[in-house]
Subunit: 283 residues, 6 copies
Amino acid sequence: MMNKNVQTFLACDADYDVADTVLFGVPFDGTTSFRPGTRFGPSAIRNQSFGIETYSPYCGKDLADCRIFDGGDLELPFGNTEKALALTKSYTASVLADGKRFVMLGGEHLITLGAIRAVAELYPELEVIHLDAHTDLRDQYIGESLSHATVMRRVWELIGDGRLHQFGIRSGEKEEFEFAGQHTDMHKFDTQGFSHTIACLEGKPVYLSLDLDVLDPSIFCGTGTPEAGGLSFKELLETILQLHRLNIVGCDINELSPHYDQSGSSTAVACLLTREILLQIIK
Amino acid sequence: MMNKNVQTFLACDADYDVADTVLFGVPFDGTTSFRPGTRFGPSAIRNQSFGIETYSPYCGKDLADCRIFDGGDLELPFGNTEKALALTKSYTASVLADGKRFVMLGGEHLITLGAIRAVAELYPELEVIHLDAHTDLRDQYIGESLSHATVMRRVWELIGDGRLHQFGIRSGEKEEFEFAGQHTDMHKFDTQGFSHTIACLEGKPVYLSLDLDVLDPSIFCGTGTPEAGGLSFKELLETILQLHRLNIVGCDINELSPHYDQSGSSTAVACLLTREILLQIIK
Amino acid sequence: MMNKNVQTFLACDADYDVADTVLFGVPFDGTTSFRPGTRFGPSAIRNQSFGIETYSPYCGKDLADCRIFDGGDLELPFGNTEKALALTKSYTASVLADGKRFVMLGGEHLITLGAIRAVAELYPELEVIHLDAHTDLRDQYIGESLSHATVMRRVWELIGDGRLHQFGIRSGEKEEFEFAGQHTDMHKFDTQGFSHTIACLEGKPVYLSLDLDVLDPSIFCGTGTPEAGGLSFKELLETILQLHRLNIVGCDINELSPHYDQSGSSTAVACLLTREILLQIIK
Amino acid sequence: MMNKNVQTFLACDADYDVADTVLFGVPFDGTTSFRPGTRFGPSAIRNQSFGIETYSPYCGKDLADCRIFDGGDLELPFGNTEKALALTKSYTASVLADGKRFVMLGGEHLITLGAIRAVAELYPELEVIHLDAHTDLRDQYIGESLSHATVMRRVWELIGDGRLHQFGIRSGEKEEFEFAGQHTDMHKFDTQGFSHTIACLEGKPVYLSLDLDVLDPSIFCGTGTPEAGGLSFKELLETILQLHRLNIVGCDINELSPHYDQSGSSTAVACLLTREILLQIIK
Amino acid sequence: MMNKNVQTFLACDADYDVADTVLFGVPFDGTTSFRPGTRFGPSAIRNQSFGIETYSPYCGKDLADCRIFDGGDLELPFGNTEKALALTKSYTASVLADGKRFVMLGGEHLITLGAIRAVAELYPELEVIHLDAHTDLRDQYIGESLSHATVMRRVWELIGDGRLHQFGIRSGEKEEFEFAGQHTDMHKFDTQGFSHTIACLEGKPVYLSLDLDVLDPSIFCGTGTPEAGGLSFKELLETILQLHRLNIVGCDINELSPHYDQSGSSTAVACLLTREILLQIIK
Amino acid sequence: MMNKNVQTFLACDADYDVADTVLFGVPFDGTTSFRPGTRFGPSAIRNQSFGIETYSPYCGKDLADCRIFDGGDLELPFGNTEKALALTKSYTASVLADGKRFVMLGGEHLITLGAIRAVAELYPELEVIHLDAHTDLRDQYIGESLSHATVMRRVWELIGDGRLHQFGIRSGEKEEFEFAGQHTDMHKFDTQGFSHTIACLEGKPVYLSLDLDVLDPSIFCGTGTPEAGGLSFKELLETILQLHRLNIVGCDINELSPHYDQSGSSTAVACLLTREILLQIIK
């Protein structure tokens, strides 16, 4: 009767040893230039996950039937970006070394770099699917090379030309769009071509990075830099429901900023997407 | 000049005796498990109704031409679920006994049971249309049989197989969906088949239960348990604009939780739907 | 190094003399009947404009390549409607006299009258495009002839029959819709027919009045009188992307009320539309 | 059973004819220069009054034993300051003509002028007690003579030198403080001297104007122009508990702006003060 | 490295078996009549406890040196008041049976009855210290005998005359104050006499019930029924710092409603008081 | 007429060259561990400063008579703490080199280190007055030596024993209080001894660091880490009104976090204190 107060995402209560999938949070928002607060994202997702069900009527599967460990949030230093990335890489690497998949909850988008540094070492042929409103392809941002606005440029440096598949992009500098034209597989505005990309990537190791601001602010206002003209929930859901065809070795869901989500509906969206992504990537 | 401070929904200022339709509120949220606050729904709808017009450009009718009595809110005990349902049934029964239709404003969804207990006694052949994100078909919820999560199971016990027509459902336990497969007429995710249902129900006594969370959170974030993937406003409006073909003997509009509606836009949606439903059901 | 703290809309930092376009704010909400606060609109748009980019992937142009002067906000008396309109007219007239175009940020919709009083003097053949949820065609409102609810009736008195092209209208009194049937070119509910109107107006002097509540509250909740059933962002964007075909001599963007925009996403929408409109009207 | 939905301040449900005291609201904020919203004050006070008791342990009296009529809110035009004042004066005059006292709920402070125009006609020897953070003694404000910032200058013009007793004042222009030194009985910062003033005014007709921002923002943050350094609740309460010694012929309680009172505690303070003032002025 | 995500109040991370004190939450607000939300109190206190230190400069002790088990929140049914009280009593009784003290975090004030039902069985000579703005001595409230407004009447029935020591009381019906005059030791408005009470109770088993609304709303706005005129933080702190002289066998801290605490400062106050009370009652 | 939109703190509109005092903002919150947002502090203070007057009835002086330049906010990189401090030091040094005093608006408390690095180079005998709720004397915080929680330890390293005069301190680790006992002049809980300190420091170069959370949360809730038991506004004001006796060569006002100040009253407090400090330090 006298149990400890363990808090996990909905039904993700397996022990680490038996789990095949690890969920963990990286509450980092240190390079956020406009409105900070994504550090509160992971705990908001856990807390509000009890407002949805474990069963998905979309794919007919149930989280209660899975073996997922929720490792809580990494404890990070404040004001030291490099160290935060190093801790993220280290945790990710140990999960991979134990033969498990992972879903990382952000935090700001830069955390993706920490995870991919670990994943790309293990999988040199890594392909990355990037759903986002923003290009994130700047080389520098206000003099810094490590930033939410440069993260995909840094990822490209790790994986090389043609392996970064971007969808939903509708904001960036002119130079970033030109860079994308030469180096990445960018699909502007929506998810046209996603099925084709899925077909091409079957069998390869794939990392999925979902910046939730790819959604239209009508359905996802709880983020630091809302950009109108995004995907509807159903468009994004259709995309996610194809992911079981891929070998997703790791993924992240980032940029929920709960302070801008007074109603909790953005957090509810993030919870639902987390559930669906978990159900898709678990074999 | 020195009038009392009477507050009604937009233009619903007829005297009870001459009214053919009664609007009333049931500010009950006693079984809400996640985030309470629907008790404030009816008064929010009344207060904000003055932000919309009495005239509908959708159906060309005007509330100012109708005879509707707004009876205010029932006064309920707190912490006593059975008594709240009994008071709701009693008020409903007396309205029906006086030969009037009613629109009940919630409050949480359980209040539907109070109203249908009265309606089903008068109309043993009652058919129920249920618009909702959630199945609400659990038999028990945390050990309780009376709950917002069990309300439609209780309604089914009153009206029997095949008479519960559910639309927009996208959340529930696996067992609830299986139960629906055997006992109710469930249409998952959207309103496909609604016109056919309308055609089948013409001439029969019909009760309409509208849980506003059937709408997508993009247009209706002001509710305790937002569930992504719902109806757009226009989809729901098209559905409602068909209701004049039916004999609606009573209906409810529930689950607005104004504290999660910082902008007031969910409340504005509830006001508009209340106007359109009133204009549809009045003969 | 020690510069003054000049605040402008994104990249609108040209000097007045060299600018061909002037942006200015009119922080007036004196006749707002329901929920005031649009006075805070212009400064919210300026502050949050740094959350978007200067480059538009929609039209391929960049604000950084334009010469736009941001004149800040007019200083207005409080409680004196006529004087506020006179100051608005006077500022507008002087901009026009200097041979420049303008984009005026509201404030409530009545400010349109101040600007059009100046524009219509200069362009007697003026055509007006009006995007709005509301008819705004009352003759009087609570005994007043100058009101956000009467503004387009006053505009019609200035420009005459057939020159007021209304789109997206879905709220008003029965009499207003009847008036529109006789005197204005009203397109109810959506933007059907907009391309045709564009074709007809090519070459003529055109004023554009954009009441942001023409958008659906799902994407634009930050306004005093949200009205469900409106345009999606993409519908409105498609409309705006046609404006370069016209000779827009002045325009306004009004009714953002930041206090009802907790997440800032409505303000982000207003910023993006301001950018796109500027890029469309500049030759 | 089927009663109309009458809303009054706590227990103020007497009929007009038998009442000796009238409570009414003036939801006007048309000259508010900084942050509007006091128009919502009266209804917030009524709605939240049910969170306090009718009985006062401070004076041992009970509102349930009084005969008070709550007349609701005046219906005012928007954008027409003079007309709003005229309507306020007219209502006040008719209440006085019927031999009743009144408590007027604001709304912004300018409404005091409307009421005092009526009261001063009936009582040429009127004395005014003014509790406020601000001098309100400007002659003009942004070119206007009717403003929340000029209201006590206008009152002084009506009642003359030495009859305006100001307490708690801690904000104004240098010129206003100098004006006060010559023409009013100003007590800066606190309520020192209040008992003496009470003693001097016994037997005379007195009007009380309570601008709630006289309170420190710690206990009353829900106002448009909070000014630190104000009265504690207990200091103000002690002041009010002396009012039964006077012949208060009318009074107002103004400047609650509920949108800045997220917790409702400022509104609770306004409710309690309204109760105590009513209990003090009723004979 | 891969630990479970255990969440406790600041440093309360001892195992149950070695702990001498148990902290637990009762997230119940089922009889709240005005504004619900105290169910979110315990988790808000845990989450925000990391904003304060474990060390107290007031008493020189440190939570890190104590052995406290945080048992998380009880899982309660919704809408069934009697069952919630029974579960609270049962948990409390088992903690006492294991020879431990407890601090219970509410939730609404009614939960005190559940705990005292267990404590009073073990300690028939129990004395109760009750800090509150409200009398809570009604016999019935809207027809119910179990309510936040009747809880201390029910407690009095258990412990008898003269054993209920009430401080800070400033709101109630006239009849409640009269009842207190005959049956309880009530100190109105403040904590005068507290030291004397402490002296009288030394050596006896004492239960402390702290309704946080005893504090003035200036320092504690985050509660459902704020009542002006309360204790300052320092007044309450001085009271608490005397508690080590007593034998506190159990206590509760209740009525934090985080939704009315936008800034988090009320929650910070609750955290600090929880720390100080823990440090006082631990021997 | 067509002026640029320059935004300054109330009346601080002198040109840099003629100014004797410089106001500037440092919108940095990169090491904030709990709740970020102080980056928005300086602009909130500027915007809301127009809600107060330029004239102080406390000291009889007027900002309109002073020559103060408002330099706006420093543009800082995100995620690079050292560079932010270097930019702060550089700006401060150039202001000092031009023979001017400064008031720096934070941002988080760490920015004090940037400024004092410049000031201490110029004034080796520098004394520092530190008003704060927190000791800020940790040597490391989560492995970092540059943090809001270590800032005063770093300052002590620059200025040495006995030159750091701390007031209002009521939160810290046991070790920090012990460190203070040996190395700083710490006054716990309140401002007792402040007049004596003033007397001792007359004639010496003094830096003032005001962490606004030294105030009680009742009057200043708008901060990331509210700590109950603080100074009242009047206590702090009395302290500040003695500053004219000192030679203040620079000062900062930090830790306003506007997102936690829904009502704006904390920002109003910050504005008033900024005005009073400016009026005190200008000769």
